[in-house]
């Protein structure tokens, strides 16, 4: 049987036909000529690696070339939007070709036994693929949930005083997070009727033009709601970066420390803090 796969030219068309039958070919995602080229490459690599003794996949160095090609193929399938099952079926459809050759070689096996065998193999393949697909899906769901949890954990809005809320930011502020911060903060402001919001950026490693833009946008939205925004926790090197980059935080009061911002917030809300003695 091996010589069959070692003469790739002879089975390519048959394999492509089997792929079409199994619904592996997705003309909406990759075109026919690419499908054909990839299949031809796979066949030739597979044929090249087959020797008299079957090397163990994937450890044997004989498979190196095919493995690298498969890695790249699977990666690009993921990018193109193929499902795990569709990707796995590509190789599985090659079984159709092999079985057909086998049937031609052993004519004494009755046709209904072949059909039975064919159907069962297909069923078992489908079951295996189905379970791996479900496994993958639930794993993805777990990852997504964890990401969501992290995102929510990373943007708390805390009540510092009556009418004063604080947002301690830690880590990098990307657009998705900036939006979530804005949403959470504005919702909180309208819920608690707070008039001052302090955004503490001590935990943000660097401030670039984009981060500054997110901050000024948030401040603009906070102002529209009728509250005021103060940015605190500006470390010396961040102050320098802001100046070096020529970034402006226009109309945004800034303070070096959270304590300074709180003092300003007290001033704005008309509170005074005095020592008890």
């Amino acid at each position: 049987m091996r010589d069959l796969l070692q003469r790739p030219g002879s089975v390519l068309d048959e394999w492509l036909e089997a792929q079409r039958r199994a619904g592996v070919a997705r003309p909406d995602l990759i075109d026919e000529s690419q499908q054909r080229e990839e299949s031809a490459q796979l066949l030739s690599l597979l044929g090249g690696a087959l020797a008299d003794t079957l090397p163990v996949f994937p450890d044997d160095p004989a498979w190196d070339e095919l493995r690298t090609y498969l890695d790249r193929l699977a990666e690009s399938r993921a990018v193109d939007g193929f499902s795990p099952t569709e990707t796995a079926r590509l190789m599985l459809t090659l079984k159709d070709v092999v079985f057909k050759a086998l049937r031609d070689k052993v004519p004494q096996v009755p046709a209904d036994a072949w059909a039975d065998f064919d159907e069962l193999t297909r069923l078992l393949d489908t079951l295996a693929l189905y379970s791996s697909e479900v496994l993958q899906r639930s794993r993805e769901a777990i990852i997504e949930r964890q990401q969501q949890d992290m995102l929510e954990l990373s943007t708390p809005v805390v009540q510092l005083w009556d009418g004063i809320v604080g947002v301690p930011l830690i880590g990098t502020l990307d657009s998705r997070r900036a939006r979530l911060v804005m949403e959470t903060l504005l919702d909180n402001l309208s819920e608690t009727k707070s008039s001052v919001a302090i955004i503490d950026i001590s935990g943000i490693p660097t401030v670039d033009a984009l981060t500054a833009q997110y901050l000024t946008r948030t401040a603009a939205a906070v102002r529209l709601m009728g509250a005021e925004c103060i940015v605190s926790g500006i470390r010396p090197q961040i102050a320098r970066t802001i100046v070096d980059l020529g970034v402006t935080l226009d109309g945004l009061p800034t303070r070096a420390t959270l304590a300074g911002a709180l003092a300003l917030a007290f001033e704005r809300t008309g509170c005074t803090v005095e020592p008890s003695a």
């Binding site: 804005m182 919702d187 402001l189 309208s190 603009a220 939205a221 529209l224 709601m225 009728g226 509170c271």
Partner: protein, 127 residues
Amino acid sequence: MARVPILRIGDCLVVTVHADLDDGSAVTLRDDLAGRVAAISARGVLIDVSALDVVDSFVARMLGDVARTVSILDAETVISGLSPAVAMTLVEMGVTIPHTRTALDAQNGLRLLGIVMAPVRESVRCD
């Protein structure tokens, strides 16, 4: 076309804008307000928009126009009750409403205009 009612409180005017503010009634509102401000020499105008789920650029511009008209008549405008979603949309569209101050709700807005109501809760003392 629905007319937006204009209420007088002291020397200020109060308007609550409803969800179905169409372009026509927005224009009427601007003209009515200008007339009333001039008639009573009003000191301030409070526009409460808490009922609006959506503020498009036209309504935002109309609010800005109202504020400008009012400020020419020597009165100030306070907009209260912009919802978080509306505030975010306006910022994302880059729309600003010039000549206005904003307040969280109508009560705070009236306070900004110098109309002090009986306190709802004890003011906070930090001692």
